[in-house]
Amino acid sequence: MKVNVDFDLCESNAVCMAVAPETFEVRDDDFLYVLNENPPAEHHEKVREAAERCPKQAITLEDV
């Protein structure tokens, strides 16, 4: 799985960080950082949920 974020859409609502903190982190500069663009299998479910719940639909996932 490859995680892509459209940073033109992202508004740093931090919903993804609440759902999948291993993969997404909003830092003190208010920007979202993807901690691991190729998350391990055990995090895939949470990452999918984070992508679905993003209020701006800014996260897309690719099968690799």
């Binding site: 609502n13 931090a14 909003v26 830092r27 208010d30 209020p55």
Partner: protein, 379 residues
């Protein structure tokens, strides 16, 4: 089977008061699962159909076209509708008078937001404040009134509420507090033209938006035997009757994370969480003895945000009378505040343009941390 009274495919409501009004989002952008083919879903979607009666004993729902649906398990998620002005306001049926809840409401309001148009927004809650900000962005002249002494007074401490008033004033909104709309005058064409406030002040207008809260959609449940009290009352697992669960704006249930306080949450994040929970709960209720099946209670820490101009205002948990500043300054409109109970336990965290702290704050509330821990992690 999913039954809904709106004719539209399921869509996302939060942009209706923001990006949809100001332009960047078109209707396709609002759709949930836009690429899903409605013919290919593994459930039946009945749109534009309204449930009008429930028979809990027989497990039946009657629809407005006479159809009777028999169920094994029922999720009540009928939401809420905007509260309207009283008839004494004299505006019933006038053109230029709006509420904002549905896509149809937003389509109609969008037609009225043009540069130079004079817009009165009645109610400075979330909807009113967001519409005021959007109307300003569209170049309208905006007056925002509220009965309370500060905007958002149901959810914010007064200092933070006044910061909302200042935010709007500095963006050119005429904010008037502790004042109500007395009545509206209409021109020969049936369009609103003047509003008279309880103070006696007269404001010339082209459009009125009423944002004075919502009423849960429970009318169809009278006679069902379910307990209705500002929402459908359920137990701490959202169960309202043996094979009936509730979710979303219509649900009222005791939240164990806040000492079993009865809650009804009108927020987007809760609608998603409680909807998922309700689905699992109803499956458990159908499979086992409904009341004997052990199910974890639904005990979320509510979380919402509101976007106004360039500010993102987030609250995790619940506000209390005791607010303490954790970082930043209210005057700078970038700060974090903790709401405490009498034992200094954090009940809620308010963040202005500090999204990271909202996530951390929610964890602090969930863990029942004290103000000392909050200072360390949020400061």
């Amino acid at each position: 089977m999913v039954i809904g009274d709106e004719p539209h495919r399921p869509y996302d409501r939060p942009p209706l008061s923001k990006e949809f009004l100001t332009g960047p989002y078109d209707e396709d952008r609002l759709l949930l699962r836009p690429t899903a083919d409605p013919a290919n879903l593994d459930f039946t979607l009945k749109l534009g159909r309204k449930a009008i009666e429930l028979d809990v004993e027989q497990g039946r729902v009657m629809l407005d076209d006479g159809e009777v649906i028999t169920y094994e398990g029922l999720v009540i998620a009928t939401g809420a509708q905007p509260r309207r002005l009283p008839a004494s306001a004299g505006a019933e049926g006038a053109s230029g008078l709006h509420v904002l809840r549905s896509l149809d409401d937003a389509r109609s309001l969008r037609e009225d937001l043009h540069p130079g148009k004079r817009v009165l927004v009645v109610g400075a809650g979330f909807i009113g404040a967001e519409v005021a900000a959007s109307a300003r962005q569209m170049g309208c002249e905006v007056t925002l009134i509220d009965l309370a002494s500060a905007p958002l007074d149901r959810v914010l401490d007064s200092a933070s509420g006044m910061a909302i008033a200042d935010l709007h004033r500095s963006n050119g909104v005429d904010v008037r507090l502790e004042v109500a709309l007395d009545h509206v005058e209409v021109d020969e064409g049936g369009r609103v033209k003047r509003s008279v406030l309880s103070s006696g002040d007269v404001v010339a207008i082209d459009t009125v938006v009423v944002g004075i809260g919502v009423v849960p959609n429970t009318g169809w449940l009278s006679g069902s035997g379910l307990t209705v009290d500002d929402g459908v009352v359920a137990d701490e697992t959202c169960l309202a009757a043996p094979r009936v669960v509730v979710a979303g704006d219509v649900a009222k249930w005791p939240n164990r994370s806040f000492g079993g306080r009865m809650m009804r949450v009108e927020q987007w994040d809760n609608a998603i969480d409680q909807g998922g929970y309700a689905g699992r709960r109803i499956v458990a209720a159908i499979k086992g003895d409904a009341l004997a099946t052990p199910v974890e209670p639904y005990a979320p820490i509510p979380w919402f945000w509101s976007d106004q101009y360039d500010r993102k205002i987030q609250l995790a948990g619940m506000p209390t009378e005791r607010a303490e500043l954790m970082q930043g300054a209210v005057a700078d409109r970038q700060f974090v505040k903790a709401f405490l109970d009498e034992d200094d336990v954090v009940q809620g965290v308010l963040c202005w343009n500090r999204p990271r702290q909202a996530v951390l704050g929610r964890q602090l509330v969930a863990a029942g941390e004290s103000v000392a821990a909050a200072r360390e992690r949020l400061g």
